[in-house]
């Protein structure tokens, strides 16, 4: 589904990614771990199509198509979703209106009719229940005044609404208490299928207790320096990242 080959990317002439190789197949869960500043969030932003970053070398393929030239919205229309570490507050746009616009614009791009209002409301109800979201919350301005947990839950709610093939969850666990973490993880697990895939970006093991990865990758200094099964995450939790750094430097 996703094939990243020798990806180099920079922002304002500063190189951040220095040759990432990663393949994600349908049905898989990948965890990307690594210390601060290693390039995890940059990788997510580049896959999602953030134009602030420049791809200087390598390529990203999604379903065997090179997506380097596609805009963020075109990538979304093809089924790529990114959950933001810091979801943006947008006063004046309600969660419901935002979702309705996102879904109908995506359908339009896919050559489909707009979703009828009653179907939309039903879908919103279903998916908000999945994430234990209060209905009052849906008529509030997007992310405005939301707590950290509410913002993250709202991200996963959007994912549930949009049903992407590939979901990249950027530090979705940060700022969540244990109950919110369970709700979010439970939502992601329910949305998992053999046809979609999830890439989880995280510092810590704890989200991976709830969403169990098939592969764990360690990013350091813009490269994937180690990959392994889920046990690798436990190892990192126990020993930190220093031993990886030493391995790399050796």
């Amino acid at each position: 589904m996703l094939k990243i080959k020798n990806l180099h990317a920079s922002v304002e002439d500063k190189t951040i990614l220095r040759g990432i190789n990663l393949e994600v197949k349908p049905g898989e869960v990948h965890a990307l771990m690594g210390p601060n500043g290693s390039g995890k969030s940059t990788l997510a932003a580049v896959i999602a199509g953030n134009e602030d970053y420049e791809v200087v070398e390598g390529e990203i393929e999604f379903n065997a198509e090179n997506i380097d030239e596609l805009s963020a919205e075109e990538r979304a229309h093809k089924g790529i979703f990114m959950s933001f570490q810091y979801p943006v507050e947008i006063p004046g746009v309600t969660v419901t209106n935002f979702m309705k616009t996102a879904i109908n614009e995506t359908r339009k791009a896919q050559g489909l009719e707009e979703m009828p209002a009653n179907k939309m409301l039903k879908l919103i109800r279903e998916k908000s229940e999945l994430l234990d979201i209060d209905r009052k919350f849906l008529s509030r301005s997007l992310n405005e005044g939301f707590s950290g947990g509410e913002k993250k839950r709202n991200e996963i709610f959007q994912m549930a609404m949009l049903e992407p093939q590939l979901a990249i969850l950027d530090e979705t666990d940060s700022g969540l208490d244990i109950d919110a973490l369970r709700i979010v993880a439970n939502g992601v697990n329910k949305l998992k299928s053999k046809d979609n895939a999830v890439v989880i970006i995280t510092h810590y093991q704890r989200l991976l207790d709830y969403i169990v990865p098939d592969f764990v990758h360690v990013i350091f200094d813009g490269r994937i320096v180690k990959s392994g099964p889920k046990e690798l995450a436990h190892q990192l939790e126990e020993k930190g990242y220093d031993w990886i750094k030493e391995e790399v430097n050796a």
Partner: protein, 437 residues
């Protein structure tokens, strides 16, 4: 001949044409003298520093359109709020159109200025209210000199006017360029409530210059909600001079929605004369091309315990220019005034301009006055966020712009009008998305 000379020399002909014996003759004569002395305002005047009328004054305007085209309702229906029942006072090229109008004298007067100025039964009202609150301004004087036609609305006390009133001025291009000077007088007596929608619409590519004066009186506990829809075409310019006198406990709000027109100047003046008055001035301006919009507001707090709220949002693209000049004057007697002013602007590129100038003159010592203005661009992070959710760039921009402006719409009390403004905004931003949820 320059427009000023043309207007002055046309004045005698105008006076001969209309009711020369009327009480207003003296007022008109004074007014033309005042205009003759002052002439059109120039950029040398402080309040016209950022707005030049030169471009709009250069046309050879016909001062009284002679030939008037008829219009069928179906041709112009889209300019009306037509989903609900309303009173209508409609003018075509400055002349009343009985065909398109729906007026009344049943327990209140929703009718014509020409009738009010000439019929004896209105004499006392005219003597008490006509031209009493216009300021010493050359454009207002010019309008007064040529005052003849417009809307006359008098709501006697204890009356809730259930249907909104639409005042619409059409110009049809029967002359190559036309100058219109509508004059409206609106009096709302004790405890009465009225909603008014005003619109100027040109149906031609010929130049149109409208110099309008509206005097509004809200007597004790009167409530007036006034909406100005300014979405005219690129060859039409408007100078709107509105004066509002409020008595105690009255509430008046004026919303100005400006999306179209070549040059628009709104001189909006509130005078508070009584306690516990509430004055609201709100506006959304969205312009592009070489459009120019100037909001020049005054709230004069003369009495204690009153409030005023100003909230203007502006979005400027292409080579458009905006001006906001908001003056709040608090007299020494006006203790416990609560005055709020806010002007927020988005500039969509490097060529668009906004000049914003809050002016607070406060002579009382126990008041709460706040003001703030911002000028910014669309938030890049917010754009990326929306686009990752599949909302294309243009729609994402439109959604953010709408979000930026929409709290001004929340206080619009006529639902159909709110829907219409939503549609006008979507059209102006070139998108087909429903903002209203």
């Amino acid at each position: 001949m320059k427009l000023k000379e043309k207007l002055i020399s046309s004045f005698m002909a105008f006076e001969n044409q209309v009711d020369i014996d009327s009480f207003v003759h003296d007022i008109r004569s004074e007014a033309i003298k005042s205009f003759e002395e002052k002439g059109f305002p120039s950029k040398k005047e402080e309040s016209w520093k950022y707005t030049s009328l030169n471009k709009v004054l250069k046309h050879n305007y016909s001062v009284f359109p002679k030939q008037v085209n008829a219009l069928e309702y179906r041709e112009v229906k889209r300019y009306f709020i037509h989903d609900i029942d309303t009173y209508k006072i409609v003018f075509i090229d400055g002349k009343y159109s009985s065909h398109l109008s729906d007026t009344t004298h049943d327990g209140m007067d929703i009718c014509l200025m020409s009738a009010a100025l000439s019929k004896p039964k209105y004499r006392i009202i005219i003597e008490n209210y006509f031209n009493k609150i216009t300021t010493d301004d050359s454009l207002a004087s010019l309008n007064t000199a040529f005052s003849h036609e417009g809307a006359y609305i008098h709501i006697p006390k204890n009356k809730l006017v259930e249907k909104p009133i639409q005042i619409i001025h059409f110009s049809t291009g029967s002359e190559s360029a036309v100058m219109l000077q509508p004059r409206n007088l609106i009096i709302v007596d004790e405890n009465s409530h009225v909603q008014i929608i005003e619109r100027h619409q040109s149906l031609t590519e010929n130049a149109v210059l409208t110099n309008s004066v509206t005097e509004i009186y809200a007597n004790k506990r009167g409530i007036i909600d006034y909406y100005k829809v300014q979405n005219d075409n690129q060859d039409a310019s408007l100078i709107d001079n509105t004066y509002i006198n409020q008595k105690q406990e009255s509430h008046v709000s004026v919303h100005t929605f400006t999306f179209g027109g070549k040059l628009i100047r709104n001189n909006l003046n509130f005078f508070q004369n009584g306690e516990r008055i509430d004055s609201t001035l709100k506006g959304i301006t969205i312009i592009g091309d070489k459009q120019h919009v100037d909001h020049n507001t005054l709230v004069h707090h003369r009495t204690p315990n009153c409030e005023s709220h100003q909230d203007y949002k502006g979005i400027f693209g292409d080579n458009a220019t905006g001006v906001f000049n908001g003056k709040v004057l608090v007299d020494r007697e006006a203790q416990k005034t609560n005055a709020y002013q806010s002007n927020n602007n988005l500039l969509l590129n490097d060529k668009a301009t906004i000049n914003t100038k809050p002016q607070l003159e406060i002579f009382a010592d126990d008041v709460k006055c706040s003001h703030g203005c911002t000028i910014g661009q669309l938030d890049e992070n917010a754009m990326f966020y929306l686009r990752t959710r599949g909302i294309p760039e243009k729609e994402a921009k439109a959604l953010l712009m709408y979000a930026f402006a929409n709290n001004v719409l929340e206080s619009v009390k006529i639902n159909e009008l709110k829907q219409r403004i939503n549609k006008l905004i979507a059209n102006k931003l070139g998108v087909n998305i429903g903002f209203d949820l």
